[in-house]
């Protein structure tokens, strides 16, 4: 059964069209990948799903219920959790508290006591429980990202949006993280959308289905391996490299 | 946890140290309180009443010196006791006033209080003074309302606000019965309203016609909207003002918009030399209701004529003592504060007691004249004996022009036009 679906959703800033009449459906418990070059509208898409932006047109459904105009916090309550490309933990709070807050206000909606228990569990799973009393601001970028994943998981989401979570990890960590995410997703029946710019091998290991975005449009959707082997995608990625040089 | 505990201890220590100091002072003063008479006052040495406060301080100090050095102290049960004047700075803030008044009463063991300047601060200190049964003479709390609150121990040395401008109206009526159109332009605050309410009622009674009657909020930067409207009503007289800054602004803008009238009387601001220093010739001929002014003729002889007893220095002596402390001319704020000490001194000598109730009773009976004027209060503590004077800036001198018996010079009337003033015409024959 389809859990998340977008019906020709568009968002433009001034003249620039960030997301253009996009249709997308993600099944319950599915792990779905989005790839696309920098500026292809991936992050905007995430903001639309998590409610940071409202779409200019189109509708968004979660488990058959329309959420197009719900504020972010309401969507979080319905089970949407996300991470940010640049992690945004609550700096002056400790790691444990960061994760606990997720458990309190997310789908889990736990009380303070339980929230800290849940937080402890996920920190252990992610494997940074040794840092649990550190303040978030003292962590390395990588650790911050892990904390954010833990925070997102502690919300006990039904739909998890991962934004470049694996960037900058060594292959070993990536594999560990992927297996871990897969396990949690299966245990708790979460639909996971992971988006990456490159790191194709990671996405192949992780996602069953894949969508390639380009200039806010869906370039192609289908089985991960097939999609990645089509000529267009390769072109886009060659193109992307150049884009990559010119921008930033 | 530990940190929290430590912190608490630290805080407590901090407070205790401050406290020991408090105790030390208290006992110290306690022992001496018998062989001198302590009069205390919270004065506004900073904040919006800093100017008045400073003047009052110098005035009180001058009179303290007179009592101790010239009069040899206050005579109580055969002994001449020196006066000590104890004061703190209340920053013109009501919170400070209350704690300072209580300190004066309980720690410094003052026998009598002089109120802080202004009606609001006096009101703030009233409950404390009243609950400790301390007599308090107010200077500056000119609003009649203060004395309608039923405080037993609070009395007033100033003429109440309602009578500030009546003298001016009398004078004009007497000088020029044709001048009928009066315009009121004044600060929208408690004091100025009490003044203008009095003036309005009196003006109507005396057959003046009020052609303009509007206020401006406190601390204005531009009065031109009001003044332009006022100008269209073509008044003969302008009555207004509020405090120092706005009074100066009012005069300045009356001149820059060339509003020419026969007479202008502004509250408070023109009473101090600052006014003329700031405005120069523009100040010429501007009048001001004063509680007192150098040159006003209050003397033993005048007292004799009025059948009142005289106590205290002549105004020249006062001005001398004041000048020694401040090296400038005293304003009525200074004189008023000084007068409070004289009145206490006299009341003690007559009552031969320091008991608040006896003194309050004596203050009620007391009818006397001093350099500041007459003292005579009604049962509510409101001043009825003291009279206002009207002063006018003539050739750089602020001279009393009304009432006739107190006048030091003739009224210059009508005002020279602003253009004439700009050419240097002075308001003097």
């Amino acid at each position: 059964m389809e859990f998340l679906s977008l019906e020709n959703v568009s968002k433009n800033f001034g003249g620039l069209v960030a997301v253009d009449k996009l249709n997308l459906t993600v099944q319950a418990g599915e792990s779905f990948g989005i790839v696309g070059p920098n500026g292809s509208g991936k992050t905007t898409l995430y903001n639309l799903i998590s409610g940071v932006y409202r779409p200019d047109e189109g509708k968004i459904y979660l488990a058959g219920k329309e959420i197009t105009n719900l504020p972010p916090h309401a969507r979080a309550r319905l089970g949407i959790a996300r991470t940010f490309q640049i992690p945004r933990p609550f700096n002056s709070a400790t790691v444990l508290e960061n994760v606990a807050v997720g458990a309190m206000f997310g789908y889990a909606g736990a009380g303070v006591g339980d929230a800290f228990k849940i937080a402890g569990q996920y920190l252990e799973l992610i494997g940074i429980d040794h840092k649990k009393d550190e303040k978030a601001m003292k962590l390395t970028p990588l650790e911050k990202r892990l904390v954010e994943i833990a925070r997102a998981l502690a919300m006990k989401p039904k739909l998890l949006l991962l934004d470049e979570v694996m960037a900058g990890m060594n292959p070993g960590d990536i594999d560990r993280l992927i297996t871990l995410l897969k396990r949690i997703k299966d245990e708790e029946n979460i639909s996971v959308i992971a988006m990456v710019e490159h790191l194709m091998h990671a996405i192949t290991k992780f996602a069953g289905r894949l969508m390639v975005m380009h200039r806010g449009k869906k370039l192609m959707e289908g089985g991960t391996i097939e999609v990645l082997n089509t000529q267009e995608v390769i072109d886009v990625y060659l193109g992307k490299k150049m884009v990559g040089i010119t921008t930033c | 946890m530990k940190r929290a505990r430590v912190l608490c201890v630290v805080i407590a220590m901090f407070f205790l140290t401050g406290l020991n100091y408090g105790c030390a002072r208290q006992s110290g003063v306690g022992q001496q309180a018998a062989d001198k008479i302590v009069i205390g006052a919270p004065l506004s040495l900073s904040g919006k009443y800093a100017k008045e406060g400073q003047m009052a301080l110098w005035g009180a100090e001058a009179i303290r010196r007179w009592i101790n050095e010239v009069n040899g102290g206050i005579e109580l049960s055969g002994k001449k006791l020196p006066v000590e004047f104890k004061y703190y700075d209340d920053e013109s803030k009501k919170e400070s006033v209350q704690s300072l008044v209580e300190r004066l009463i309980t720690v410094d063991k003052v026998d009598f209080l002089i109120s802080p300047y202004s009606s609001d601060l006096a009101l703030a200190s009233a409950p404390i003074a009243d609950s400790h049964r301390k007599v308090m003479i107010t200077h500056g709390a000119a609003t009649d309302r203060v004395y309608q609150q039923g405080y037993k121990y609070i009395t007033q040395v100033y003429t109440p606000g309602s009578r500030y401008q009546t003298g001016f109206l009398d004078m004009i009526k007497n000088k020029d019965p044709e001048a009928k159109k009066a315009a009121f332009i004044y600060e929208d605050d408690e004091f100025s309203r009490s003044v203008i309410n009095g003036a309005r009622a009196y003006a109507n009674k005396q057959g003046f016609e009020v052609v303009f009657d509007k206020t401006y909020p406190s601390k204005p930067t531009d009065l031109s909207p009001l003044i332009q409207e006022l100008k269209t009503t073509k008044p003969d007289l302008i009555i207004g003002g509020g405090h120092f800054a706005d009074g100066q602004l009012l005069t300045e803008q009356l001149s820059s918009l060339e509003v020419n009238v026969k007479a202008v009387s502004i509250n408070v601001a023109p009473a101090i030399p600052d006014y003329y220093k700031a405005l120069g010739v523009k100040a010429e001929g501007i009048m001001c209701p004063g509680q007192w002014e150098m040159g006003v003729k209050y003397s033993p002889e005048a007292a004799g004529k009025a059948g009142l007893e005289w106590f205290g220095p002549s105004q020249e002596d006062f001005a001398g003592l004041f000048n020694a402390a401040a090296n400038q001319k005293p304003s009525y704020h200074a004189a008023g504060a000084g007068a409070c000490l004289l009145i206490y001194a006299r009341a003690v000598e007559k009552a031969q007691s320091l008991d608040p109730d006896k003194i309050r009773e004596e203050l009620g009976k007391l009818k006397m004249m001093n350099f500041f004027g007459t003292w005579d209060i009604d049962e509510t503590g409101k001043q009825t004996g003291h009279n206002m004077v009207v002063t006018q800036w003539q050739a750089g001198e602020n001279i009393v022009v009304w009432p006739p018996e107190a006048a030091g010079a003739k009224l210059f009337y009508p005002l020279p036009s602003w253009a004439e003033k700009a050419r240097g015409t002075l308001a003097k024959e």
Binding site: P89, D133 | G18, S99, A124
Partner: protein
Amino acid sequence: MSLKKYYEFLSLLVFYAVLFFLGLAIPGMWQPVSLIMFYVALGQCFNIFLGLTGYVDFGYVAFLAMGAYGMAIAVDLLHRQGLGVFIIFIGLVLAVLMSTLLSLAVGAVALRLRGAYFAIATIGVNEGFRYFIEGARLWGGSEGIIISGPLRQSLGPQTVNYLSTFVADVLVFLIAILAAFVTARIINGKMGYAMMALREDEDAAKVIGVNVTKYKIIAFVISASFAGLLGACAWTLKMTYVFPADVFLITYTIEAIAIVMLGGAGTLLGPAAGGLIYGILKYYLAIKLPGLQLLILAPLLIIIIVIFPEGVVGTIKKRGAWRPWNS
């Protein structure tokens, strides 16, 4: 655990108690103590909003003013009804009512704005309202309301003196304690974490499910209604008058901010420490150096803030683990 959570609050109680009995024990100490307590309470009340949400409300004093007027109006209207001391309770109720209503109105409108824009908008409310009262001659206009007379007629001088020189101060103590308790409750509960989240990163807070608007308004209204109580007790009841020029004075807001920052925003002990330091400095300098105290006070404040950039308590805590909710 749960008592441990409230350790700070309990130590705060001890501190208040010490202050209270010092005030009673030593002649001449009561008013100074109540002066200090006014600043402490002001800090405690303001901290609920400023400290916990990180939003600055420059117009905060308007809520004290509302409270002050609430009490004054109640007395002014009802002193002839022979209600006795009960009139004070009505006054308190009206005070809370008026300040809460204003805060709801302001909150609904202004809390959409962020940072400095919110701060200045609240100044607009404060000043605009003040000059409306003066301009429209509302509630006595600039002449305000003097309640000592009416009160003394209906309750008798002794009672009123007692009310305004003792009871009012005790009420201020109670307000401070209550405000501190509410603060402790909030930061120990779920709400505290929500506010931590929105203080740290409003957008991140949203996407993890924190209804930031809701929590902002809650903090705003609670803080405002406490301000109303404080205004009613520490101003109208204690000073026995209300003049608009004096109750809408923006300086009080800035003093409140100063106190909270001096102690440490968002901490429970912060406002107490800040208020204590500020009050004591003010009082003893005023006694030692009348006329010069502010000249000394200002540099002292600067030195303190340079040594403790996050407030005395805040900085001390920061040097250790930072857990306002359970140390």
